[in-house]
Symmetry: C2
Subunit: 164 residues, 2 copies
């Protein structure tokens, strides 16, 4: 089967790979950047690390490629306006108009009332196809509120339900 057909099937099937919705933030040459994402994973605990997959055409890719550190902010279920604001046509500073933004000690913006924020030092990058994987060593962790993350599944934002 050709790549385009597989990609179409994969896109459809990925609607079932439920994921917390995060906003990735960074700062580079004085400019803040933010991007709503789901392609995020815990990596390991020794050293404490996570990874993000970022399209090379994304507005924050050049900053990350240049080695800018970043934060992964897990959205709460009622953070829909932030998810929308950080994925729309507005870029750069305009994406920080909605949300209670503050700064980590290493100068990376973070969402003060995120379910959790992981401030990461950008320690390794691996290009693959249209994307790059950035590995971050976790430097600081923040947690806020009761557990109620926003979840993206089947093309919509939802939250967790009853126990399975």
């Amino acid at each position: 089967m050709d790549q385009a057909s597989v990609a179409g099937q994969m896109r459809h099937a990925l609607r079932r790979l439920a994921k917390a919705v995060v906003v990735i933030t960074t700062r580079h040459e004085g400019q803040r950047h933010a991007m709503t994402a789901t392609a995020v994973s815990e990596l390991c605990m020794e050293p404490p690390s996570m990874l993000i997959c970022v399209n090379k055409t994304a507005s924050l890719h050049p900053a990350l490629q240049a080695g800018a550190h970043f934060a992964i902010n897990i959205l709460q279920s009622d953070h829909g306006p932030i998810a929308a604001g950080c994925s729309g046509k507005d870029k750069g500073e305009a994406r920080f108009q909605v949300g209670d933004w503050t700064e980590s000690v290493i100068g990376i913006p973070r969402l003060a009332n995120a379910q959790a924020s992981f401030v990461c030092r950008n320690v390794q990058q691996v290009g693959f196809g249209t994307h790059a994987i950035f590995i971050g060593e976790v430097d600081q962790v923040f947690v806020a509120g009761t557990v109620d993350p926003m979840i993206y599944v089947d093309g919509r934002f939802t939250k967790t339900g009853s126990d399975a």
Copy 2:
């Protein structure tokens, strides 16, 4: 802050990074392997690809390190016994006692009634700390059932709730 303290905070905060629960499967030298996991991400569409993060001490790590292909099977909310069976003390074939297992054309086991299965060619690996990232180019995609993935959040298995 030292690494152990950050790791402890990170472990606590990751309880909020809601994730679909998957079982990673492979076959190597005639032996089937399966492992319940959440450290999985879509990577890109060109080429269609996904990644998994696997502890170097996991029973299926040697197979993956040797280049064995693999499948990522998204569990349905009622697949708790499979999630438990593929993460307990039983290893190898014993993990296939529960579940409707079949085979992909390239010989990798897959769960016939998984929410979705992505059969991947193991094309690149990146070691980092205690873990390795394996990048898979998606070769085949299967989908079954209505959308109802199992979700791991706050240390428990759950499913999606009402719209956020």
